[in-house]
Amino acid sequence: MASLDDLKKRISSVKSTQKITKAMKMVAASKLRRAQESAEKGRPYSDKMNNIILNLSNSISDKENSPKLLVGSGEDKVHLCIVMTSDRGLCGGFNTNIIKKAKSYFQKIADSGKILKIITVGSKGYDQLKRTYKENIIEKISFKESKYANYFDADKVGKIIIDKFEKKEFDICTIFYNQFKNVITQIPQEQQIIPLKSNETEGNSLEDNYEFEPEEDEILGNLLPKNVSTQIFKAMLENSASEQGSRMSAMDNATRNAGEMVDKLTIQYNRSRQAAITKELIEIISGAESL
């Protein structure tokens, strides 16, 4: 049985941990608001971009000669996966969920005998993947210095990807990130960005006849690299909102758990104090009796 002093120390240490988790929760909550706002503000851009590209690809007649970024390199051998995680821990299952999703995808690729290449964005993803997939990771990127997700960073990642694609280092590129649904729920996503998957091609805008200036393929050639950066940026925004949301709920749980622990320890402390007092009394009484 722990002594009274030990119990006291434990209680105070749990209490100070609770203070920390509480503070972290507050910080995450205020950051979350900002991240959520910018995720929402960033949506019109990526939506519009998507729309324009859909319109463009619909009106392209010559599919054979359209840019490689749209139709792919015609092969399906080398897969590049961009795993986007956070740079900091203590955010619940946020990173683990992405990694889990990514790993099951990696397994599929390995089973079908294709070549896998990985780029990690965010240091936590690298830490978790380096044990199993060390040889597959061709690059690790982290933006520890930038406080908020910004387009400049996303563009850097986008340029790296485009560069590698032009050097024919991979055929298909998929990004992994967490989509922010609400504070409690974040959905890990896999999204193929090269070649562009036109899942909603049968869209609404087919009736429009656009005029293009310059030609369609020239616009597309200019637009598609931008789209890669935009998609990365979107993923970064969603990710940062998810990270804060996840951290907030994780810290909320931690605070509650710490509270429960303090209660339990306090009861234990009081009981053992009472026991000590009783013991002393018994000693005194039996000492008096023996006289």
Binding site: S38, K41, M49, N51, L56, Y210, F212
Partner: protein
């Protein structure tokens, strides 16, 4: 009927400007400046560095400097997507100088494509005109 149309300028981080009623917008399209009025045909084009001029209904005008972007006009709604846009009234003179110096340095290097060179020349021209006033 009004003879204005809707204008939206968005950059990746936020919606930069949104106006319900503008009379005309001049954009520096890749193949030359283009004025867009109401009931323009649906068009998609991309931008070279230059000035976007917005003419409001009250005969006031605003000017913005853009470095790149895409425009889409459809159903009397003009969307401008750009990653770099600045209000020239608020633009920092030092920023212009830096950008100009960078662009000039870039044109000196020999391994750039004709297209890039063209864009850079445009950029230099516009930036120079900005430093003058």
């Amino acid at each position: 009927m009004s003879n204005g149309f809707k204008l939206e300028i968005v950059n990746p981080e936020r919606s930069f400007l949104s106006k319900e009623e503008v009379l005309e917008v001049m954009v520096p399209a890749y193949e030359g400046n283009m004025g867009i009025l109401k009931d323009h045909i649906s068009i998609i084009s991309f931008l070279k560095p230059g000035l976007v001029k917005v003419f409001n209904s009250g005969s006031s005008e605003e000017t913005y400097y853009v470095e790149d972007g895409i425009i889409e006009f459809k159903n009397n709604c003009l969307s401008i997507l750009t990653s770099n846009i600045f209000d020239i009234k608020k633009i920092d003179k030092n920023f212009v100088k830096d950008a100009l110096a960078n662009a000039e340095k870039d044109t000196q290097s020999s391994d750039i494509s004709d297209q890039k060179k063209y864009l850079l020349d445009q950029k230099i021209e516009v930036l120079k005109s900005l430093t003058l006033n």
